[in-house]
C-alpha cells in the first residue's frame, strides 16, 4: 500500500490536477508546493506527494513494471 508510482503532470491548479500514469489520465490532489505542467511527480492514493526528476520517474516506472511482470 505504501509504494508510490511516478507520473507526469498534464494540468494543475493549486490543489488538484490531471496526471499521466503510463498513458492513463488521472485526476489527483496535489500536496506539494509549486507543481506545474510537465513536472514528474510521485503519486500515492490519488495524491501528488513529491516532485522528482525525469530519470527518477522513468526508473520507478520501469521498476514497478518489472516487479509486476515477475
Amino acid at each position: 500500500m505504501c509504494v508510490a508510482v511516478s507520473a507526469r503532470v498534464i494540468e494543475t491548479d493549486e490543489r488538484a490536477g490531471k496526471v499521466d500514469v503510463r498513458g492513463n489520465i488521472l485526476n489527483v490532489g496535489i500536496a506539494v508546493r509549486n507543481v506545474k505542467p510537465g513536472d514528474y511527480v510521485l503519486i500515492h492514493a490519488g495524491c501528488v506527494i513529491e516532485v522528482i526528476k525525469k530519470e527518477q520517474a522513468e526508473e520507478i516506472a520501469d521498476l514497478l513494471r518489472e516487479l509486476e511482470d515477475l
Binding site: M1, C2, V3, A4, R15, L26, N27, V28, G29, I30, A31, V32, R33, L42, H44, A45, G46, C47, V48, I49, E50, I52, K53, E55, Q56, E59, I60, L63, L67, L70
Partner: protein, 357 residues
C-alpha cells in the same frame, strides 16, 4: 572503487557475526523476494519483515466495525481494494458485500467527492487505513470536504505512524541489527525524522529505494555500520527523499490529526503511534464506540504466527500453518492475505526460496 559487483561480492562472502536486518516496508519484502536478493548475499545475513504492511496491522475489530457500518441503512463504506478480503472476527468487507452490505472499492479517497455530491441523502464512510504515505490523500480529501461544504462523508480511521512503532519494536525485538527504512514513507517524513530513533535504539538505519541496487546498497551500508559500530541514518534514496521530507504534508497532518495510542494487529497497543482526527474536525469522523483493539501475537497463536512474523522473530515458513492450513485462498492471518504481507509474498515466491536460501 565501490560498484555493484564489489558490493555483491562482499555481501556474498560476508564472514562476520550473524546479522538480522529488518525491511520495514512490505514493498521492500516483495522486491527482496522478486529480485532474488537473498541469493546474492551470505546466509549469515538474515532479512526479516517488519510491521510495515498497513493491511496486516489493521485490527480485526476495525474490519468488524466497517462491515457493521456498511450494513446500516443509508451508509456506504468505501475502501481500498487491499482491505477487501482481510477477515475480521466476522466476515471480511468482501464477504459482507456478498451478503448485502453496501461496500465499494476505491483507488483514491477523492472518488468519494462525486458520490457524496450526487447522493446527498446517503452517508459515505471512508475506511481510512495507512501509514504516512497515505495521509496526504486523506488531508486532501478533508480540504475538499471543507471547501465544497460536503457534509455526508465520514472517515473511519485506523491511521498510523511508523516511527513510534519502530521504537516499540526495538524494545520487543532487540536482536534486530539494522533497519532498511521505507522509501516512500520517508518522502513524507524526511531523513532527519529518524535520527533520534537510531540513537534511541542504538541501531543503524538506511533509507532505500526499491531496485536491486538500492536494496543491496542498503544492506551493504548496514553491514558496514554494524562492523564500524555506527548507529546512523543514511539516506540512500536522496533523489527522492530529502532531509526534511514534505513539509506541506507535515503541516496538513498536524492541522487535521493528533497522535494517540492505537492497536496494531499482532503487536497490541502502541503509544502515540496512531493518528486521530482532531476535535475541531469531528464532523468528519465516523463515531464508533469501541475500546481500542488490543490484538497481540498471543491472540493469533491458535491459528497462525502472524504476530511473530510482524515482529521479525520468525520468517513465514517457520509458522506451522504456512502452506499447510494457511494459503492465499484460505488465509488464517492477515500476513497471508495482503499483497504486501510477508506470508503471501513468501507463498507466491516459494520456488525462489528453495533455490535461494
Amino acid at each position: 572503487m565501490l560498484n555493484i559487483e564489489r558490493i555483491i561480492a562482499e555481501l556474498k562472502n560476508y564472514q562476520g557475526s550473524p546479522l538480522k536486518l529488518m525491511e520495514v516496508c512490505g514493498t521492500h519484502t516483495s522486491a527482496i523476494m522478486q529480485l532474488g536478493i537473498r541469493s546474492l548475499i551470505s546466509p549469515k545475513i538474515t532479512l526479516v519483515s517488519g510491521p510495515g504492511c498497513p493491511v496486516c496491522v489493521t485490527p480485526a475489530a476495525f474490519i468488524d466495525a466497517a462491515v457493521a457500518i456498511a450494513c446500516e441503512p443509508g451508509y456506504t463504506v468505501l475502501s481500498f481494494g487491499d482491505m477487501f478480503k482481510v477477515p475480521g472476527n466476522g466476515p471480511s468487507l468482501s464477504e459482507g458485500k456478498g451478503e448485502g452490505a453496501s461496500v465499494e472499492m476505491i483507488y483514491s479517497p477523492r472518488e468519494v467527492l462525486v458520490k457524496a455530491e450526487q447522493e446527498s441523502d446517503k452517508v459515505f464512510v471512508v475506511a481510512a487505513v495507512g501509514f504516512e504515505t497515505t495521509l496526504p490523500a486523506y488531508c486532501d480529501l478533508l480540504q475538499e470536504l471543507e471547501q465544497r461544504e460536503i457534509r455526508n462523508v465520514r472517515l473511519l480511521t485506523s491511521l498510523r505512524q511508523i516511527i513510534p512503532a519502530l521504537s516499540w519494536l526495538g524494545t520487543h525485538s532487540p536482536d534486530i541489527d539494522g533497519y532498511i527504512l521505507p522509501g516512500h514513507v520517508s518522502v513524507i517524513l524526511g531523513e532527519d525524522a529518524y535520527k533520534s530513533l537510531a540513537q534511541e535504539l542504538k541501531t543503524p538505519m538506511a533509507i532505500a529505494g526499491f531496485s536491486t541496487e538500492h536494496i543491496l546498497l542498503a544492506i551493504y551500508d548496514l553491514v558496514k555500520q554494524v562492523q564500524n559500530k555506527k548507529n546512523q541514518v543514511h539516506n540512500l534514496y536522496p533523489s527522492v527523499v530529502s532531509r526534511t521530507g514534505n513539509t506541506l504534508i507535515q503541516e496538513q497532518m498536524e492541522q487535521y490529526f493528533q497522535k494517540g495510542q492505537i492497536g496494531w494487529r499482532g503487536l497490541g497497543l502502541i503509544e502515540d503511534s496512531g493518528l486521530f482526527l482532531r476535535d475541531e474536525y469531528t464532523q468528519f469522523s465516523m463515531p464508533y464506540d469501541w475500546p481500542e483493539p488490543n490484538e497481540t501475537a498471543e491472540d493469533f497463536k491458535d491459528s497462525c504466527l502472524c504476530g511473530e512474523v510482524l515482529l521479525g522473530r520468525i520468517s513465514p515458513p517457520e509458522c506451522p500453518s504456512f502452506r499447510k492450513h494457511c494459503t492465499p485462498s484460505m488465509p488464517k492471518g492477515p500476513c497471508m492475505i495482503s499483497l504486501e504481507g510477508a506470508c503471501g509474498i513468501w507463498y507466491r515466491f516459494h520456488r525462489e526460496k528453495k533455490e535461494g536460501q
